[in-house]
Symmetry: C2
Subunit: 495 residues, 2 copies
């Protein structure tokens, strides 16, 4: 090879993001490990949550850094302005929404994942085998057949979207991938209980169906779908010329943790030729426990199942999973060939089926690694025991509430969610709502405990959702004691 007139040598001094000498970054890494392990080990001694002071808020309103200040300074900013004002979900008395508490090895696994930094959308490499194995483990744990398919995603919102998109592909009766919904002769309908999570609504909106395509079916006093009412709605819609397409079963609703009669829904879907999707964001992993599995009977018959791993499975954010019974329907719904994604028989670009063929994302991080490592660390049995423990703790808290004349148990699910309020001697509903709003905020502001909100039949309630492996019975004792103290305080000052 001879030099030609075309060849321009590189004149600049080439540089990169790596340090000349790695020892400073290595030391910083060690310091971070020590700080974070200390943080986790002493979490119970800190407030659950604390308000962000305005001078700290101000720190987040500066211009983008033009010149670098180095890794040390970046870490110092994290330590001073971020770490103390976190969401609080590592703490034993965090019970807001449905959010897991993470774990030490989960944290370290995400460092390893970002360190080797693969894109799981393409190519033949071991990280893709890790994700496939995690999916296989989930199939086995939740009773899905070996030939079914799946994908790890950011959470149940995305998992629901994928499940509903495959439902559309399989059942629309038109070629949606090619033509979209435009040639649809009739509105397609999806059904779920009125307790169905709004990620299903948001998913249907994203997919172009609109909210009108979701028919909420009244839930009984047990917050479960009324199957007779569902049957009626489907018949009425067929008669009216609409196209029933899919039923969404809930395995653990967000308000009360209710589990629909999934076997009943599976039967109904089989009878009507509908797609059966289960939103098991919260509850699906309970099938790991021998004693809880019967409650989920029928879930294993779903056509698609969405669930989270960063909630009750305690994996660091974000990771959820979708399983689809029919692998080819799943793949067909999402695969789309392109020259630059050509597959080779050997080498990096080999592998007939890439994980990006099963979802909308071509760029996919290595969220599988934390799941793989934490399951290896603890084993499935341990997670099952922790579910049972949280459910027992919810029962215990319900008992504490019921045994106090000043508190009211507003709702109690079968699982891990308790909705309660302070009553004291207050009798009118408006004052009670105002009092409990204030109570919730003070519990959080004083760093005592972090429930969130449920509004049930017009009642403002403190929603305690226990999917926290750090909670112990004394945390519930303390919570009730403090809720009473603050409740009385507010009642007194309002009198």
């Amino acid at each position: 090879m001879e030099a030609s007139t075309y060849l321009q040598p590189i004149t600049r001094t080439e540089q990169g993001l790596d340090p000349q000498d790695w020892s400073e970054l290595r030391q910083l890494g060690h310091r971070m490990v020590d700080d974070m392990i200390d943080h986790l080990a002493t979490i119970a001694q800190r407030p659950v949550w604390q308000p962000i002071p305005s001078e700290v808020r101000q720190r987040f309103r500066t211009s983008p850094p033009v010149d670098g200040e180095g890794a040390e300074k970046a870490y110092e900013d994290f330590r001073r302005y971020v770490l103390p004002y976190a969401e609080g979900n590592l703490h034993p008395r965090f019970w807001a929404w449905v959010i897991g508490a993470g774990s030490g090895l989960g944290m370290l696994a995400d460092m390893l994942a970002a360190g080797i930094n693969p894109n799981l959308g393409s190519g033949d490499h071991a990280p893709t085998l890790v994700e496939r194995q995690v999916i296989d483990w989930m199939k086995q744990a939740l009773g899905f057949p070996a030939e079914s398919s799946g994908l790890l995603v950011t959470g149940a919102s995305m998992a629901n979207i994928i499940g509903l998109a495959v439902a559309r592909h399989a059942k629309a009766g038109i070629n949606v991938k090619e033509d979209g919904l435009f040639p649809a002769p009739a509105r397609m309908m999806f059904y779920g209980s009125s307790e169905t999570h709004n990620s299903i609504i948001k998913g249907l909106q994203l997919l172009g169906f609109g909210k009108q395509s979701f028919c909420p079916i009244g839930a009984g006093t047990d917050f479960k779908i009324n199957i007779a009412a569902l049957q009626d709605a489907i018949s009425r819609h067929k008669h009216d010329g609409l196209k029933p397409l899919c039923v969404i079963g809930n395995a653990g609703t967000v308000n009360t943790g209710a589990v629909d009669d999934l076997a009943g829904l599976a039967d109904l879907c089989a009878e009507h030729g509908l797609w059966f999707h289960v939103d098991g964001a919260i509850g699906a992993p309970l099938a790991i426990s021998d004693s809880l599995r019967p409650m989920l009977r029928g879930m294993e018959r779903a056509d698609s199942l969405a669930f989270d791993l960063h909630k009750w499975m305690q994996m660091p954010y974000d990771v959820g999973c979708v399983l689809v019974r029919d692998e080819s329907q799943h793949r067909e719904a999402f695969s789309e060939a392109a020259g630059y994604l050509s597959r080779m028989p050997r080498g990096l670009c080999s592998g007939e089926r890439w994980l990006s063929d099963y979802g909308p994302e071509l760029s996919r991080g290595f969220r599988a690694l934390k799941v793989w490592m934490c399951l290896k660390e603890h084993g499935l049995r341990k997670y099952g025991e922790l579910f049972e423990q949280n459910i027992e703790q919810a029962r215990y808290l319900a008992g504490l509430v019921e045994s106090s004349e000043e508190l009211e148990l507003v709702a109690r699910g079968e699982l891990n969610i308790i909705c309660l309020r302070y009553r004291g001697r207050v009798r009118d509903e408006q004052s009670l709502n105002a009092l409990n709003r204030e109570l919730l905020m003070r519990l959080q502001e004083q760093g005592i405990a972090a429930p969130s909100v449920a509004i049930l039949g017009g009642k403002f309630a403190l929603r305690v959702s226990i999917c926290n492996h750090r909670s112990r019975s004394e945390d519930f004792d303390l919570f009730v004691r403090e809720a009473l103290r603050i409740g009385r305080e507010i009642e007194k000052s309002a009198a």
Copy 2:
């Protein structure tokens, strides 16, 4: 509070996922930091990629662990079976697809993020301020107005989906959130050059439009959209009763890195009242560099802009960003109220606008932290210099190819992508394609370099996409030398 008959004490011995004694996990964390820093510091000495031996593949086909084996064992499995068989994108001679190389602090930042483990979908806490600041920085860096909005997502696939969904919300002329696409009087049309990435097609399929709603406009020999042809298509479609809705401009196409005439597209969209979306997955961040910004003129006029941060910005996977000019359109397209997401004036549940109001996901990990910390570490200027360096390296490689009689420069973009093939003395196209396929695989299998595939006008080419901060000029010298050696070898054995 007195005990009542309802109160059941907890009888089981409560447990959690935390160790009794944190010292073992702490030591393991230190070992991981050392191993990963060593791995990064010595990456150039290892093969870019190596095939996974079948006995290693077999390791990923075992049943789920029922009993835990501990953190040490989980790490050992990672070290033995995952780390050596990674995708290869940390290596200086990885140029496959468009994948960044990560960085040391990026890796450590993901540990911190998983350690404090917030859900950025809800609540008032510092991690949400970090994400908002990163979005603000991106707006400023890319010329978007301060009042625009944005969101971090898994990558440009999701960012494109969000941009196109807001386009639909703003321009469909029907209430898509409520009614979906069913009442649409006419097919809605999206336009982009024939070089548009398939994530746009996949996005339109997900959104219920179907592939027929994408009208590919011929690209010229410069691979840029032909604006006259676009104008014609829009007029023809209007005449035919279709509804033109959105034009997609490319800021760096996947095949050749071509940048459309974005100012021309912005003018055309303004004239026709169309939404202007820019897919800047690869190229948008180039606006950081003063010398490259002019090439992207008009991008700052987009209604929505999608780009990646794990590609040329070198952040660990996965993180991309969408910016939307009209904050209220963006929020309206995605927000959906629910009792359990009620906002309070104070405390954890405060904050009028949550990040989950701007996208389909309620669960959102702390992917902002690595971006925030790496930008603080290096400053924007450094990234701009690295873009310029990669573009100069692509020019250098093109020169190397052109100065060899045995190689052919199949395509050369303005930016960082070079498509080439070995020719030797082979003259028929079929043999050339077979030879270059084999060449690509051997380069990968021998761990020398990792280009990927481009098929351009029927020619199988090695696609070298340089967005790697570790590549140096000698890496391109070595690549060309070895491509020639292996090419001659294959040519000889076929003769």
